[in-house]
């Protein structure tokens, strides 16, 4: 590794603020830079993103490479890959980090191939060990973990939500904003976006909820989710699901938690009728406490749970909602 290493974070943002996961990546990047004496840079691809660059600095970036272009207004694979690759070539980072989101998982493999290097997706740990970068990630459907290193540079990685702490907002932190002129192709993009359909409910709520109530195959239909919604409302939480109910159309697919869905890290995760396959736990294993409700006492989920209820959720959940409401009333 020659010179001071530069850690590059590819920012995602909503309106005027970087996402929580982007702030977590800056926290991780500061840790990596601190261990090696390097600098943290952020990549901001946007059309209008007032205030985002300043918050990236306040959250730990020493430098923000900002590129403005109408084609970058919303995540678009081709223009983002092209723009991010251009900035990577200019900044010559040792590590490139992105969130393990639909955008990050789409973007990073393509950047890695363009830069002739390798990528680790969905990492849960990124650290320097004996001078080389070690990346740990779930694999085999969440049943196993692998730790990898790369013999090419830069190392590119996506990191799951909730694995690192964001730094507190520090308005006094100083950094520079470097404007980069886009060199996006003159010709029309090869992939054209025809239409975007956003879910009406605020699905970001799921990733930020303190309490998540999730349902699985054991709910036996969409009606069970109405019950879980009542429980979530009583607890001030959000509703999620394992893959099967999403595939079967019992609930919106944006509720999916797991290896191919969202990663959540709530204080409390109540898994109802979820067997606890590794691919689901890859999305909720970081919860502070898991409660498992299942008819099958042998279900794998009990191995990860702090509290377990063996029984029929249709009898248990209404009774539990009553208990929670009683408790709230007496407060």
């Amino acid at each position: 590794m020659s010179g001071a290493p530069c850690i590059l974070v590819i920012a995602e943002f909503t309106q005027t603020r970087p996402t929580k996961l982007t702030c977590e990546l800056l926290g991780l990047a500061r840790g990596l830079a601190g261990a090696t004496g390097g600098a943290v840079s952020a990549v901001l691809l946007a059309n209008h993103a007032d205030g985002v660059a300043e918050e990236l600095i306040a959250r730990g970036a020493d430098r923000v490479y900002a590129m403005r272009h109408a084609a970058l207004a919303d995540y678009h694979s081709e223009s983002w890959v092209s723009a991010a690759t251009q900035i990577c070539r200019q900044a010559a980072p040792t590590v490139v980090l992105a969130g393990h989101t639909a955008a990050g998982a789409d973007l990073t493999p393509r950047i890695a191939f363009r830069l002739g290097t390798a990528v680790a997706t969905g990492c849960i740990d990124v650290s320097f060990a004996a001078g080389s970068l070690a990346l740990t990630r779930p694999c085999f459907g969440g049943n196993a973990r692998e730790t990898v290193s790369f013999n090419t540079a830069p190392a590119v990685a996506t990191v799951r939500a909730g694995c690192y702490d964001a730094l507190a907002f520090d308005g006094k932190r100083r950094g520079e904003v470097v404007r980069i002129e886009p060199r996006l192709g003159e010709e029309a993009p090869r992939v054209r976006v025809i239409e975007r359909r956003r879910d009406t409910d605020d699905s970001a709520r799921l990733e930020e909820a303190r309490v998540v109530v999730a349902g699985g195959r054991g709910l036996n239909g969409s009606d069970g989710f109405r019950l879980l919604e009542q429980l979530a409302a009583a607890l001030g939480g959000a509703v999620g699901a394992s893959r099967v109910p999403c595939d079967l159309g019992w609930c919106p697919r944006s509720w999916q938690i797991g290896l191919t869905g969202k990663t959540v890290q709530p204080e409390l995760y109540i898994a109802v009728g979820i067997s606890g396959a590794g691919h689901h736990l890859a999305g909720c294993g970081g919860a502070k406490a898991i409660v498992a409700v299942n008819t099958d006492p042998e279900a794998a989920i009990f191995k990860d749970a702090r509290f377990g209820v063996v029984g029929d959720y249709q009898k248990f959940v209404p009774a539990f909602i009553e208990e929670v409401r009683k408790m709230r009333m007496s407060e």
Binding site: S77, E78, T101, D106, P109, R110, F113, R114, A118, V119, A120, T121, P138, C139, F140, N143, A144, R145, E146, T147, V148, S149, F150, N151, T152, R190, V191, R192, V193, I194, E195, R196, R197, D199, S203, V211, R243, D247, S254, L259, T260, E267, L268, G278, G285, K288, A289, A300, F302, K303, A305, R306, F307, G308, V310, D312, K315, A319, F320, E323
Partner: protein
């Protein structure tokens, strides 16, 4: 139209966790007795997507391509029994222990040798390493437009129209062919081969190629061409200290509420 579907044979991801063991020394999965090897489910859905396209475009030829041990022939047979037309098996000791880069490099080289195609389909990720890198890599190496996480694929007038999954919804995108599309589980269930198709599959051609057949140097494929070094493979440690709440549903509800309260979780 020619569609190439890249598939991988993996240990059955639906198998019970108790059947899943790793040899930490060798950094390999131990094939437990009775553990089935199957076509990765997302790849099955990629074959399904190809078959749905062929239903509307009868002049479509579907080739199932797999790199792996000689046993990967079974994954190709499965694709043929689902209804694909022919298969290509890349089996050579030189291909072993490839990473995502070397795998994409080898598969891209194979598609070139096949004379290219109109559409390359892959699963969004293989159910063993769960990386989700090879599909995008093939697209980049072949210079194709890449569309990831497809839940619906339509081909019309030389273009592919894809509904793809976002974190908070979906989007519809379009690209001219040739293109590469990775398929997500939202596409829906893959068909189960019936007896008649399985019988027919036995007569469908499967070409077997080695590195030399592809004109690829041994230094570029398999472990020699890898950029990733596997440092460790291990099982996560489980605490397994679950407290079961006893009694009737009523008792359990009261008991759980009390414990969560004490733990300041609610």
């Amino acid at each position: 139209m020619r569609i190439v579907v890249c598939v991988k044979q993996v240990p059955d991801p639906e198998a019970a966790f108790s059947m899943f063991k790793v040899d930490e020394q060798a950094k390999k999965v131990i094939p437990a007795p009775g553990l089935q090897w199957v076509m990765s489910p997302f790849d099955e859905q990629a074959v399904e997507a190809a078959l749905r396209i062929r239903k509307r475009h009868a002049d479509t030829r579907i080739t199932v391509l797999s790199m792996g041990l000689e046993t990967a022939r079974n994954a190709i047979k499965h694709g043929l029994a689902m209804g694909a037309d022919d298969g290509v098996l890349l089996s050579d000791a030189a291909f072993e222990d490839a990473d995502s880069y070397a795998t994409a490099y080898t598969l891209a080289g194979t598609i070139r040798k096949l004379g290219g195609c109109d559409l390359v389909l892959t699963g969004r990720q293989a159910a063993d390493w769960d990386a989700g890198v090879v599909g995008a890599g093939i697209g980049e190496l072949l210079g194709l437009p890449v569309i990831s996480f497809a839940m619906d694929i339509q081909v019309e007038r030389g273009a592919v129209r894809v509904e793809r999954v976002l974190d908070d919804g979906t989007e519809i995108v379009e690209a001219l062919l040739p293109a590469l599309v990775t398929v997500s589980n939202e596409l829906g269930a893959a068909r189960t081969p019936n007896l008649r198709e399985t019988m027919r599959a036995a007569r469908k051609p499967v070409t077997v190629w080695k590195a030399a057949d592809l004109g690829l140097a041994a230094s570029e494929v398999g472990a020699a061409g890898a950029r990733r070094v596997l440092e460790r493979l291990f099982l996560p440690v489980k605490n397994n200290r679950c407290e079961l709440i006893p009694g009737s549903a009523q008792d359990q509800a009261a008991g759980l509420a009390q414990r969560l309260r004490e733990a300041r979780l609610i």
